[in-house]
C-alpha cells in the first residue's frame, strides 16, 4: 500500500433503519480506507450490512426508511455525507460508481444499452451526442462486448446476464471513477461467465488505476480478486486483513467458521462444519459480542460488553473484534 492519502476513507459510519417506528443500526461504526488501485473485499452473509455500507457511500440509502446516523465518507478528501442531492448527483457515476448484482433490474428496460452508457458521458462530461456515442462504443469494446457497434442500439432484454453485467461495467467506467463499488456483481452469473467478469474487472481496474470495493458472500471469489478483506457480521466489522493473512490465519471465530463451512472443489472436505443458529435480528441485537450466541469460544465477558476492533500484536494490518482472539491495542483508540 502506498503512503499517499486514501482515495476513499470511511470513518465511523453508522446507518440506521426504522423498524416499527424505532431506529436500529444496520451498519455500526464501520471504518475503512481504500488506497488508490487497491481492491477491498467486503465479505459476509445476508443482512451483515455489506450492501448497506456501499449504498451509504453512494448515498443511496432509501430516504425515510433509512439514514446515515453518523460518520464521514471522504472521497478524495471530500466528505460526501453532508452533500445535497444535486451535489451528490455530480459525484455519483462520476468519481464513484457502483455496479449491482442483478443487471436486469438495474438497467432501464425501455432505453437502449448504448444510450444508457452515453447518458452519463453526456451528463457528467458534457460530451455532445456523437462524441458520447463514439466514447461509449470504445467502452463497449473495452468491456469486450462482441460486435459492439451492432449491439449498441439493442435493449437490455436482448442481452444475456453476463453481457448485461458488461454493460453495467461500461456505464460505471464511463467517467473514469476513482472508486468502483461492486455489489455482488457475479453472484447471478454462471461460474464460467463469473470468471470472465472477474478477469474483466481486474483488467479495467489495472487500466484505469481505480480502487474497488468488491462486495460478496463468496470467499472463493474474494481469494481470486481482493488485496485486502473486511469481514462483516451483524453490521460490524469483525476482521480485516491482507488477503493472505485472512486465509492463512483467520482469527475471528466467525471468519474461521465461515472458511470451514465451505465445501471445496479442489480437495475433499473431511469435516464440513456448520455455524449453528442464525444472525440476530436487527431489532434484537445482544448487548455484548454479536456473534456470541453462535461462537464456539464464547466466554462470560463476551455477553457483557461488545469487544473493540483490535490490532494483532504481530501484524498491525490484521484487525480483529474479539475478546478471546483479539490483541490488546484498540484500533479505534489509535485513530
Amino acid at each position: 500500500m502506498s503512503e499517499q492519502a486514501p482515495v476513499l476513507d470511511v470513518q465511523g459510519l453508522t446507518t440506521e433503519f426504522r423498524v416499527h417506528g424505532e431506529w436500529h443500526a444496520a451498519v455500526r461504526g464501520v471504518s475503512f480506507q481504500l488506497a488508490r488501485g487497491e481492491t477491498l473485499a467486503i465479505v459476509g452473509e445476508s443482512g451483515c450490512g455489506k450492501s448497506i455500507t456501499a449504498l451509504s457511500v453512494m448515498r443511496l440509502v432509501p430516504q425515510g426508511a433509512g439514514r446515515i446516523a453518523s460518520g464521514r465518507v471522504l472521497l478524495e478528501g471530500r466528505d460526501l455525507v453532508p452533500l445535497s442531492e444535486p451535489e451528490m448527483e455530480k459525484v455519483r457515476g462520476n468519481r464513484v460508481s457502483m455496479i449491482f448484482q442483478e443487471p436486469m433490474t438495474s438497467l432501464n428496460p425501455v432505453l437502449t444499452v448504448g444510450f444508457q452508457v452515453a447518458e452519463s458521458l453526456h451528463y457528467h462530461r458534457g460530451l455532445g451526442r456523437a462524441e458520447a456515442r463514439r466514447t461509449a462504443l470504445a467502452l463497449f469494446d473495452q468491456v469486450k462486448i462482441p460486435s459492439a457497434a451492432r449491439r449498441f442500439d439493442d435493449y437490455p432484454h436482448q442481452f444475456s446476464g453476463g453481457m448485461r453485467q458488461r454493460v453495467m461495467i461500461a456505464m460505471a467506467l464511463a467517467c473514469n471513477p476513482a472508486v468502483l463499488l461492486a455489489d455482488e456483481p457475479t453472484t447471478a452469473l454462471d461460474v464460467t461467465i463469473q470468471a470472465q467478469v472477474l478477469a474483466l474487472l481486474a483488467e479495467v481496474r489495472e487500466a484505469y488505476g481505480m480502487a474497488m470495493v468488491f462486495i460478496t458472500h463468496n470467499l472463493g471469489v474474494v481469494a481470486s480478486i481482493a488485496d485486502r478483506v473486511m469481514v462483516m457480521y451483524a453490521g460490524e466489522v469483525v476482521e480485516t486483513a491482507p488477503i493472505d493473512a485472512v486465509f492463512a490465519r483467520p482469527t475471528h471465530p466467525y471468519t474461521e467458521a465461515l472458511l470451514r463451512s465451505i465445501p471445496r472443489v479442489d480437495r475433499n472436505t473431511t469435516e464440513l462444519q456448520a455455524i449453528g443458529g442464525q444472525v440476530p435480528a436487527i431489532s434484537n441485537m445482544p448487548a455484548g459480542c454479536r456473534f456470541a450466541d453462535r461462537c464456539a469460544l464464547v466466554e462470560p465477558r463476551c455477553r457483557v460488553q461488545s469487544p473493540p476492533l483490535t490490532m494483532l500484536p504481530d501484524d498491525p494490518r490484521h484487525h480483529v473484534r474479539c475478546w478471546v482472539r483479539g490483541g490488546e491495542t484498540s484500533v479505534e483508540a489509535l485513530q
Binding site: M163, D190, T192, D244, V265, T269, I275
Partner: protein, 325 residues
C-alpha cells in the same frame, strides 16, 4: 456393487415455445437430448452444469413433473414413464423432490403442519393420529421444533424453510430424493447446516439422491459420482473425485478452473473460457461445445462425439479421447 435403484435411459424433452410479437414464431428448445445414468441404492449422484444445460429438466422429467418426450425411467426395473395412474401414485411415494427456492415452494397460506400432512392424506397413509405422529417425528429429524406445526412459512428463515421442504419430502418415506439446487439460495453457514442434515439422512436412512447443483464444491462434498451436462447432454461422468481432480472433457476442465476456491494461491489457475453457452434453440453443429473449446478440431464441428467409457466407471463425450481409446 449395490443394486441399481434408478436407471434413466435416453431421456428426452423438447419444449415448444411460441415467442415474438407481433409475428409469433414457434421454436423448439431441446432441453434433454437423450441422457442416461444409473443411481445405486444409497448413492448420491450429482448432476452439474450451468444455467440452461437441462439439469433441472432432467430431475423434473424423470419424476414426470414435466412429461418427457421419450426414454425410460426404470425404478427397480419398473418403467415409471409408462406406469398406469394408480401404480404411478404408489411409485411417487418412493421418489420425492426438494426444490431450490424455499420461499417459492411452500404454500404461504398453509401451516407447516398442513403442508407436511397433505402428502400422507393424498396417499392415504394412516389416520389422523398416525399422521400427526409422523409429522412430529419428521420435524425432529430435520431439526425443527414441534411448535412449527402451527406456524406459517413466512415465520421461518430461509434455512428453516428448506428444512420444511426436506421434511415434506421425507414424510412419505421415499427411497430416492431429487434435490434440485437445495442449498443454492442459502448463505454459506446455513448451506453447511443443510448439507450436514442431508448427509445425516443419507447415512441414517440409506437414502439415494439425485443431487442437482451448479456448485462443484457442494457436489464434491455430497456426491460419490457425478455427471456434467452441457446443452442437454451428459459430456462426462464418473466418480466425483476423479472427475474434479482430473477432468477429461474440456468443458469439465473449464468449469473446474472457473470455480473459485477459497485460497489466494489458487487464483492463478483461473483460466478463462471464451464466449457464452450457446442457445439450446439452435445448438451448434457437431459437438455443442466446439465454439468455446480450446481444442476444437474439424471433426468436432460436424460430428457429435459419443459418450464412451475411457476408464472403469468413467465416460466422456469428446473426440480428443476417442483417439486415445
Amino acid at each position: 456393487m449395490t443394486a441399481t435403484l434408478l436407471e434413466v435411459n435416453d431421456l428426452q424433452k423438447t419444449f415448444t415455445v411460441r415467442r415474438g410479437f407481433p409475428r409469433t414464431e414457434t421454436v423448439h428448445v431441446k432441453a434433454l437430448s437423450g441422457i442416461s445414468f444409473r443411481i445405486a441404492e444409497g448413492e448420491a449422484f450429482g448432476l452439474v452444469g450451468e444455467s440452461g444445460c437441462g439439469k433441472s429438466t432432467a430431475g423434473r422429467a424423470l419424476l414426470r413433473l414435466i412429461e418427457p418426450d421419450g426414454g425410460q425411467v426404470l425404478y427397480r426395473g419398473e418403467n415409471f414413464l409408462t406406469a398406469p395412474g394408480h401404480r404411478l401414485r404408489q411409485l411417487r411415494q418412493k421418489l420425492q423432490i426438494v426444490f431450490q427456492d424455499p420461499f417459492a415452494s411452500l404454500n404461504p397460506r398453509r401451516t407447516v403442519g398442513q403442508t407436511l400432512a397433505e402428502p400422507m392424506y393424498v396417499h392415504r397413509l394412516g389416520n389422523r393420529e398416525e399422521i400427526q405422529a409422523r409429522v412430529e417425528s419428521v420435524l425432529d429429524e430435520v431439526g425443527l421444533p414441534r411448535a412449527a406445526v402451527e406456524k406459517y412459512p413466512h415465520e421461518f428463515s430461509g434455512g428453516q424453510r428448506q428444512r420444511i421442504g426436506i421434511a415434506r419430502a421425507l414424510v412419505l418415506e421415499p427411497e430416492l430424493i431429487v434435490a434440485d439446487e437445495p442449498v443454492s439460495a442459502l448463505d454459506v453457514s446455513i448451506q453447511a447446516q443443510i448439507l450436514l442434515l442431508l448427509d445425516g439422512l443419507k447415512v441414517r436412512r440409506g437414502l439415494s439422491f439425485l443431487f442437482i447443483s451448479h456448485d462443484l464444491g457442494v457436489v464434491r462434498h455430497f456426491c460419490k459420482r457425478v455427471a456434467v451436462m452441457y446443452l442437454g447432454r451428459i459430456v462426462e461422468e464418473g466418480p466425483t473425485e476423479e472427475i474434479f481432480d482430473g477432468p477429461l472433457h474440456p468443458y469439465t476442465q473449464a468449469l473446474r478452473d472457473a470455480s473459485p476456491v477459497p485460497d489466494p494461491r489458487a487464483k492463478v489457475t483461473m483460466a478463462r473460457l471464451e464466449g457464452e453457452v450457446a442457445s439450446a434453440i439452435n445448438p451448434p453443429s457437431g459437438c455443442h461445445f466446439h465454439p468455446r473449446c480450446p481444442h476444437a478440431m474439424d471433426r468436432c464441428r460436424v460430428e457429435y462425439p459419443k459418450l464412451r467409457a475411457v476408464a472403469p466407471g468413467r465416460q466422456v463425450a469428446c473426440h480428443l479421447h476417442d483417439m486415445a481409446a
